[in-house]
């Protein structure tokens, strides 16, 4: 059940690269959040920041009273978040929203794949999986090393991590490493977010190995709770892709099966 509140900001500081991290005190949201769900934050102070801004929850405190959002400075809204929400301020936030990741029962080893801001959706999943005793392998990519957000969380959990950056390895793909590894280690599930190209690549591997794969999607949102039909994407209604339908990312997603969201080129 989503909750809307004026929650206390407990910290807001530059994280790494283009990212900032805001920490918000909300036992209501943090307490019931599932990995992959998101929050919708109202930004004020700008003439044209009319909509709320949707963000994955980056992490939840161990006592589940506070949540963190890792946000990339993109435009006016995120810039205002970095200047108008200092510790002690109130933040108008709604959450948890949407449908999160699902971990198959008896899963022993999963692969999480992310690029850019998509990586910010992975740590809550990682925390949950590690808590269940599942082995997590990370594959993340970004423009440059400073934007490999969450790399520290992988090492904190002692998870294996393969990184890729455009500046260090121009032309290469993080999924090349993933497919190489696949021939040695069997995974029970794949999770991917942040780039359509990655989603397609992960989907192909999932098909080949017969393993479920989920992708977290993004779309511009107006309401964030399924009322306006504004945030739809086109999805496959069946695995053959013979019939298509529009689905709200905020309500049916943001997490979808990869077979739902890959297009004909997959």
């Amino acid at each position: 059940m989503p909750c809307q509140q004026e929650a206390l900001v407990t910290a807001n500081y530059p994280l790494t690269g283009d990212y900032w991290l805001v920490e918000i005190d909300s036992p209501e949201i943090a307490g019931s959040l599932r990995p992959g769900q998101f929050v919708n934050i109202r930004v004020s102070g700008g003439p044209s920041t009319f909509f709320r801004r949707p963000f994955s929850v980056y992490r939840v405190s161990a006592d589940r009273t506070r949540l963190q959002v890792a946000y990339k400075l993109v435009g006016e809204g995120t810039r205002l978040m970095s200047t108008t929400l200092p510790a002690g301020a109130r933040c108008d936030i709604i959450g948890p929203l949407g449908k999160g990741f699902s971990i198959p029962p008896r899963a022993r080893r999963i692969a999480v794949v992310g690029r850019g801001i998509g990586i910010a959706a992975l740590p809550t999943l990682m925390d949950e999986a590690v808590g269940q005793g599942i082995e997590v392998h990370g594959f993340i990519s970004a423009r440059d090393p400073a934007n490999l957000v969450a790399a520290d969380i992988f090492s904190e959990h002692g998870c294996s991590l393969i990184t890729h950056t455009d500046t260090e390895q121009p032309g290469g793909l993080v999924t090349d490493h993933l497919s190489a590894l696949l021939s040695q280690i069997p995974f029970d599930a794949f999770y991917v977010c942040g780039s359509n190209r990655l989603v397609r690549a992960v989907h192909r591997m999932a098909l080949r190995t017969g393993v479920p794969a989920e992708a977290a999607m993004e779309q511009h949102m107006a309401c964030g709770f399924g009322d306006c039909h504004g945030c739809v994407i086109e999805v496959n209604k069946d695995m053959l892709g013979t019939s298509k339908a529009f689905r709200e990312v905020c309500h049916h997603g943001p997490v979808f099966n990869t077979w739902e969201v890959v297009d004909g080129r997959a």
């Binding site: 809307q4 109202r42 003439p47 044209s48 107006a222 709770f225 739809v232 529009f246």
Partner: protein, 315 residues
């Protein structure tokens, strides 16, 4: 305690606040008690199944938003078999918004959805009319008259007609709807608009053009409602950019009997209950026994000293 109930034609609503078509769905019941609302208004239903417009379908602009959702309708059977039974679970009167590309199509649809449990029909005649080159029925008095006449003949339910703010002759359109037997008017739908991303040179909506809603349109639609209120005797429901109880009061003063809230709910899911509470407090503070006393109470004459105290903001 103020009497918040209002009469719209033959229908009495417990209070004057209801959702605007297309901005409300059952999901909102997770956030607010729908039984508090004056009425429930469905998203516009069409006979043919529609998928809607290209992506993205929403964009923000200063003081409002653009939408080109299209009317992704699941059709009449879905409404009858799924939506209607579900809505019977809530107490406020159910208003069903309908649309069709021809006057005859409108009439057939109105007849089909005149079902037990439906309290009124809201004809969204702001949509393109294929017999008029895609121009909306509500752009002209003559096309409005034709479609309202057919609708009136097709249903015995209270008939609300939703106007478009894109016409230059809204008072004449309102008169045409009144003359052909409409029971109430809704003023108004969104204003046709566009936005371009100056960095990518691309339109912000997949559909290029879309409807502007939110606070940006309030002064325009308020003016149009005022013009309609002076032209017709029909009850008018104000709709456009209402975010707060004081916005609603403005519409009532201009001549509205009730209001619809759209975009505000997207930013704050409790917008409607907050506006209801705010109207109650507003009337209390001014010693008004009934909210309907506000309807058309705009003052044209100069106020003297004593009257000004009446205008001080509510506490």
């Amino acid at each position: 305690m103020t009497d918040l109930s209002v009469r719209i034609g033959g229908l009495t609503l417990p209070n004057p606040v209801m959702p605007a078509s297309g901005t409300f769905a059952e999901g909102l019941a997770q956030a607010i008690d729908l039984n508090r609302l004056g009425a429930l208004v469905t998203k516009t239903i069409t006979r043919e199944l529609r998928a809607g417009n290209p992506l993205p379908r929403v964009a923000e602009v200063a003081g409002g938003m653009l939408n080109a959702i299209g009317i992704p309708s699941k059709g009449v059977a879905y409404f009858r078999d799924v939506t209607l039974p579900l809505y019977r679970g809530w107490s406020p009167p159910l208003v069903v918004s309908i649309s069709a590309p021809t006057a005859e199509g409108f009439a057939e649809l109105a007849a089909e959805i005149s079902l037990p449990g439906v309290a009124a029909i809201e004809a969204n005649i702001s949509c393109p009319n294929i017999e008029e080159d895609g121009r909306a029925f509500a752009m002209k008095p003559a096309s409005t008259a034709i479609v309202v006449r057919q609708l009136r003949a097709a249903t015995a339910l209270p008939l609300w007609v939703k106007l478009t703010p894109n016409t230059g002759e809204i008072a004449e359109v309102a008169k045409a709807a009144e003359a052909e037997g409409a029971d109430a008017l809704v003023c108004a739908n969104t204003i046709l608009a566009m936005a371009i991303d100056p960095h990518s040179f691309k339109p912000r909506l997949g559909n290029l053009l879309g409807g502007l809603s939110g606070p940006a349109i309030k002064p325009i639609v308020l003016r149009q409602l005022y013009q309609c209120a002076r032209a017709v005797r029909l009850p008018i429901i104000g709709c456009g950019g209402i975010m707060t109880a004081l916005d609603a009061v403005e519409y009532l003063l201009a001549g509205a009997v009730a209001v619809q809230i759209g975009t505000a709910t997207f930013l704050d899911s409790a917008a409607m209950p907050n506006i209801i509470d705010g109207l109650d407090r507003f009337c209390d503070a001014r010693g008004l026994a009934s909210v309907s006393e506000l309807t058309g109470a705009i003052r044209h004459e100069e106020t003297d000293e004593e009257d000004l105290s009446w205008l001080s903001p509510p506490t």
